[in-house]
């Protein structure tokens, strides 16, 4: 069956379960706060580029503004994300993380980091570099993104 017809079944399964491992810890932690992956992605992009406008965030997330609305409103209601009117253009709202929001993002990144660290511990620095290079190459073969 599958194993006979396809040479890469092992790699496909490894990647599937590795990604599950990669997301499960943060997913669980988010769930205890009543948050999901949508909130995680917002925290990630806003944390990585403070004073991001709503429009810029939408471009990064590649979702509709209606889809962003609910989770962003929640994050603002919980004071994890704060928005301020841009001094340059009063139509624009600039988003950044509150101290609490940064702390949560750190926790989430820490959970993912823990997995990577535990994994890399069993391999050499060269192996780690190779893994990253190969994974980045794979990412580069992905769907074309509009980073215009």
């Amino acid at each position: 069956m599958v194993d006979i017809k396809n040479t890469y079944t092992t790699e496909i399964e490894a990647l599937f379960y590795a990604y599950q491992a990669f997301t499960s810890a943060s997913d669980q932690h988010l769930a205890t706060l009543g948050l999901g992956r949508a909130h995680h992605r917002i925290l990630y992009f806003v944390g990585g580029a403070p004073n991001l406008s709503v429009g810029e965030l939408l471009q990064k997330l590649q979702i509709s503004k209606q889809a962003l609305s609910a989770p962003l409103r929640q994050l603002q209601a919980q004071s994890l994300v704060v928005g301020a009117v841009s001094p340059e253009d009063r139509r624009v709202k600039l988003l950044r993380l509150s101290t609490e929001g940064e702390r949560l993002l750190d926790t989430l990144l820490g959970l993912q980091t823990d997995l990577l660290e535990r994994t890399f511990l069993q391999f050499s620095a060269e192996d780690r570099q190779m893994w990253l290079a190969l994974t980045q190459t794979m990412a580069g073969h992905g769907p074309k993104m509009d980073n215009s």
Copy 2:
């Protein structure tokens, strides 16, 4: 910001975008058939273990029978999956792929294989082995599964 506080941002991003690349081609192909990832996982598990019972499939998928119901019914309606009463226990329904279902699964696996092949082409056989070993180790650090 994030880059300062966390050493593994590069690896985290690489894995995120690699997984996106990994799933996008098959997701797109499934969409043209009016199917989604739920159907893909059913095809994958039934294809990998023909004459699987509904209960066994549920254990592998780790979802509720209500969540399985709709996509499985669709696959049966499209004659991609066929079910037959077990000769040993007439309560049990054994699932397998039709020829058409196997063809679709092959196509989907082929799309994922293409990405892996294109990626591995740029690396040595040792690098590929390393990547697999590391990715499998990472998968092993995932959430404990009930394979009782």
